[in-house]
Amino acid sequence: MTSDRVRPALFYAVVIPVLFVAVVTAVVVGSTSLEWQVVLRVIAAKLLPAGWTELQSTRADEAIVWLIRLPRVLVAAVVGAGLATAGVLMQGLFRNPLAEPSLTGVGPGAVLGAVAVFVSGWGASSVLALPLASIASALLALILVYAISTRGGSTPITSLLLTGIAVGALLTAVSSLLISINIVTWQVAQEIVFWMMGGLDSRTWAHVWISAPFVLVGLAAALTQSRTLDLLLLGEETALSMGVDVEATKRLVVATSALLTGASVAVAGLVGFVGLVVPHAVRLLLGPAHRTLLPASAVAGAAFVVLCDLAARTVRPPAEIRLGVVTALCGAPFFLVLLVRKLREAHA
């Protein structure tokens, strides 16, 4: 079979407009419907130097667009880009197209940090307590996993995977313990359950500023590794023989993916399947070379989560469906289709 890939230019020509329309639509649609011209005008007025645009909108419109809806949509985009990039890195590292970002214990680590904040009530002291605690505990979980699985300066991928699963299970058990002790306080339990289903309700610019720098830095760091990641897919020994410092690359890739996952989970809770499905789909279209795959997955991940969050807000107004539920409902069937196709191929 000859490779039947889509040209990257064509891919971006479709996905970037989709992302743009999704962002504008997500700001337009809501309990108070706005006109899209108003939305664009408010955004332009905020971004362009004073005097370039005539602001013909009410203060209320401006507040809805700039303070309520746009930050939420941007957090969705950042989270989508972050999780998709982390997924690409994990699939490259584990040389398995079905790997996902939380395999190295990072996901359960972030959850434990968040649960601790909910249970202790620190969340009330600052809006930053929750995201910072979950980023910090995600990174701590990773350091623990790495320390356990490294022997004599080398970290075999299988050890990393197994340790990640074991430490993840332990951290999840501790989280469950904290939840079960505190379940009598219904409000705390509800908050935790909601958070674990992922969601972007009442996100502010603060959340954008917490997550976006991590995701941008993470994406940039990932891009510097794109050729070495390609070589790693051919096997560690091959990569080593081509002059790659394999252990240093693994450390950088795992740390970057933890940063991306931690920052995303910190502002959105657990949003599953993005890191699994988006890179996989993009790889089917554009091929596995990381220089193309990484930025394309970031853009596609952003569009995917913005659309999922739009659905989460609008399917059953005024109530919201949790974002993690929507991504799983879209992602899991796609994953199953891929799996069945793979099984059929293996059988044929």
Partner: protein, 272 residues
């Protein structure tokens, strides 16, 4: 013939086991060295140390009169290419992409492929006779095709030394021979080649030098005719070797389990 790569007194320890013991080997330009020995005798270990993938516990590897221990990884990779035994990859890279990866040690992090890179890639593709596969993805290739792509990836680096770990292990006869013929043509243009193999016949036919390993030690090295004798074969592989002559006068080997070893009854039954 000038020496390009030498390993002197190389020892490798894994855990508490000495898996390579004071091995000394020299590789010359234009020469093909076959590395022979039973499973676990240290063939792969020797190749990995010579390729700079593993640092020896003792001994030195010298590449063009420079100690390898003082060279950076990319520096080594620009001159020595190594083909591991298993090169399976689940990801659908095209043949051209995989061969292009061979240029990695010559390229900067963000440098686009230069004119020279493209030329080296094209040459390697033509050399390995995979031009018709260029746009195919490697997950859809046969074992023989995949091996030729892997060798092309090595060649794209334009190495002076090529180390191949059982390059013919999973190949059918025709493809195995074509890989060996390719080695011969590369050697004739000056590349120093070493390959590990279980195929003593191939070693005798294609190699100019043979190194025989047993239990991590080099038992014997020299020309195929010197090394591959019935006595040594019995000592190292515990099998009887009979040398017969083909019509064109070249040696061929026939192997037998020695008579002292009781034959498995199942095999006897099957013959009756």
């Amino acid at each position: 013939m000038s020496t390009v790569l030498t390993g002197t007194d190389l020892s490798v320890v894994r855990g508490s086991r000495l898996i390579l013991d004071s091995a000394t080997i020299a590789m010359n330009h234009g020469e093909i060295t076959a590395i022979l020995g039973p499973n676990g005798s240290g063939k792969s270990t020797l190749l990995r140390v010579l390729g700079g993938l593993w640092r020896p516990a003792r001994g030195t590897v010298t590449l063009a009169d420079q100690p390898m221990a003082h060279m950076s990884r990319p520096e080594i990779a620009r001159r020595v290419s190594f083909l591991p035994q298993e090169t399976h990859c689940e990801f659908a890279f095209t043949v051209e992409e995989v061969v292009g990866m061979g240029r990695h040690p010559h390229r900067g992090t963000f440098a686009p492929a230069s004119e020279r890179d493209h030329r080296a890639i094209d040459n390697a593709i033509v050399r390995c006779d995979i031009d018709h596969l260029r746009t195919r993805t490697i997950d859809r290739l046969s074992g023989g095709e995949r091996q030729r792509v892997a060798i092309a990836r090595c060649l794209a680096a334009e190495p002076t030394v090529l180390l191949l770990d059982e390059p013919t292990a999973y190949l059918d006869l025709e493809h195995a021979l074509s890989v060996l013929a390719l080695c011969r043509s590369l050697a004739s243009s000056g590349t120093a080649i070493a390959f590990a193999t279980h195929d003593l016949g191939a070693a005798a036919r294609y190699a100019t030098a043979v190194v025989l390993l047993h239990g991590g030690r080099i038992v014997c090295s020299g020309s195929p005719a010197e090394v591959l004798t019935p006595a040594r074969c019995r000592e190292v592989f515990s099998v009887d070797m009979h040398i017969v002559s083909t019509a064109d006068g070249r040696p061929a080997f026939v192997f037998d389990i020695p008579d002292t070893t009781p034959r498995p009854t199942l095999v006897q039954g099957a013959h009756r």
